[in-house]
Symmetry: C2
Subunit: 422 residues, 2 copies
Amino acid sequence: MSIQEQQTKLNIGLFGFGVVGEGLYKVLEHTPTLNAQIKKVCIRHPHKKRNAPAELFTTDADLLLNDDSINVIIELIDDSAAAYNIVTTALRKKKAVVSANKKMIAEHIEELIALQLLFDVPFLYEAACCASIPIIRNLEEYYDNDLLQGLSGIVNGSTNYILTKVSKERISFNDALKQAQEAGFAESDPSLDVNGIDAVNKLSILLAHAYGIITPPDALIHTGIQNLNNDDAIFAKEKGYEIKLVAQARKLADGNIAAFVAPQFIESDNQLASVKNEYNGVVIESSLADKQFFYGKGAGGFPTASAVLSDLSALRYNYKYEYKKLRYQVPSALTDDFYVKVCISFKALLQVPHERFDKILEWSSNEQRCHVTGILHFSELVKSNWWKQPNVSIVFYPDAIIDNYVPEKTGVLQEEFVEQLC
Amino acid sequence: MSIQEQQTKLNIGLFGFGVVGEGLYKVLEHTPTLNAQIKKVCIRHPHKKRNAPAELFTTDADLLLNDDSINVIIELIDDSAAAYNIVTTALRKKKAVVSANKKMIAEHIEELIALQLLFDVPFLYEAACCASIPIIRNLEEYYDNDLLQGLSGIVNGSTNYILTKVSKERISFNDALKQAQEAGFAESDPSLDVNGIDAVNKLSILLAHAYGIITPPDALIHTGIQNLNNDDAIFAKEKGYEIKLVAQARKLADGNIAAFVAPQFIESDNQLASVKNEYNGVVIESSLADKQFFYGKGAGGFPTASAVLSDLSALRYNYKYEYKKLRYQVPSALTDDFYVKVCISFKALLQVPHERFDKILEWSSNEQRCHVTGILHFSELVKSNWWKQPNVSIVFYPDAIIDNYVPEKTGVLQEEFVEQLC
């Protein structure tokens, strides 16, 4: 059997020629066995100097999208609205598509799945989630039976870099953010990372492949590290924890799924504690295999190019995501009906309706901050947003999701503590 | 599209009803969405009590192999000669086969690949390598382009359990082996584990999927922890290393592959250092994605059943290994032409032909042991076996493979040291 018989020759139209795009171009040039070549690159700024022949470039998207000899579109641009147009147009023209745009994919995942089926064409996006970690492919292929109990991951490198710096070097969150920006791990507008939006976009994509759940990311409870402060870091340290920003999903006893993105205390023997700086890591729990851990670089030009390349490689063999949990099983449903163990830190007691805790387990205060640890019904976080207000921070405990909790409704702080705080 | 249209209904003939087999039976009973059922189980001891209906069992292999309604054979027996007969017969009868028998697969991999192609039928064996870690599937699917620079893994849980105990609790190798046996992590005859044979069987399987290299495991240089002693453990500790039994392969500058199994000093920031007790872990290096790490339980009933289950799940969609590197590319070749940095420890200098080192970097001795660190041409380990003799141990350094080494031929111990030792 010759290579040609087995593989589809990939004729690529590339959108974007930043670090990832240029890296990809170079690898394809030097790796003829990949049987793929970039025919045309669509860019926004025609006058910028490029390390490739001038005739490769155009500013006219239609030149790529209407070229019948181009059978693969790779979309690597920042602008998610433009990316949406490129991807949906390409799918409608029955071109295979590879994208790394997590925001665009998360926000349109239902339509994008439907278009793939309608036009019977692959749309792959391993690079959109943890870059070099093949998490989507593993959820699709290896965890496609229904024994997946949960997943929890550090899926945003910028915030993990900041949290590592704060924990290790005891610098302030602000200084750590500055260092992250200088090191190139955070955008000049870092709010998408810092507020947990990037992480929840990824969680939304993971949920589709892990449990067949289609949900807009903004419908998922999420918060980032924006309100964490150095007192929280000290509080964690004293208890022997690290704080990490964790995206997680867990199957409850009734088969429904709990899912959210929030800071969490991580015990030192949890594999996520070993994920430092800009790295990503995902722990998968299945009912038979116990815990498994995937670790690698979650962002950056080369790791992203590596994931795009693996998608290209898969396209040569006509690989498609099957979305098996969604299409061939009764998909699981998201639920808010469970309890969680959290630590709330705040400046003024008035900010926190402490009576809504089912049970308060621990409280402390010093001149700067108060910390209350207790058990809350998760729907409280859905219904209200006091826990997201400035100067209030929330950190989930290890094993925060309490599935079989029997409410005690004793959630009121002792009077003397309230007096102390006021 | 209905489930029936998409999926093949799996009618299973199972060989072996030990922990894995029984676990699998229970999961399939309770998980109708898997669309798979065990029709018949072939066992050796008909009078042993089984937790399943009596009519399920037979001692007649042909009853399974000749049953046309059985389209999948799962082979989970210890006896590798019998397993070979079962698997090859089943493939010839065009039944899909799932096996966990690493020894049998490693020793017959070329024939088993040929039979799959000849009879156009899938043969999956994820459970044979690191059980619950989907390493074969990832090498097949995700690292199928030729950018894989190397892999190094802890692939044998028993020896890792022993090494962890020796390092953490400072007990002797013998006592640690006894504990491993008591904990069920080592066989009553542990020599396959301890001598590195189990690990090299797995390396042989990994090489087929990683680089398209087909090699009998006994042609690969391998040694285990059988000659390590507590002085080696102390030596490692003093240098800030852990000793791990590592299976590794690395692409050299000329495109050829270096591969072997041996104890290695591991630095604390290497992810393999975090693999404790009976766990397994594999680090994969690709030229773009840097290092990635896969971690999970590498043995035991449930993790093995989990991998078998994932293979079953893949069979429903007619998944096959493609052996892409072997079939669609020019596969890489194994080489002995490189240098390695090793530490040899020994009792008497006569045992060690120190003049065959290209360069000696460090030496020390105490009343019990001598340690020599130096650079050796790898072919020396192929040609001779002084380094495997009783009372001689070899431990590779981190980054042991030196690709671009310029020989200095200064490999003689200083005279005063020789005098000291003799």
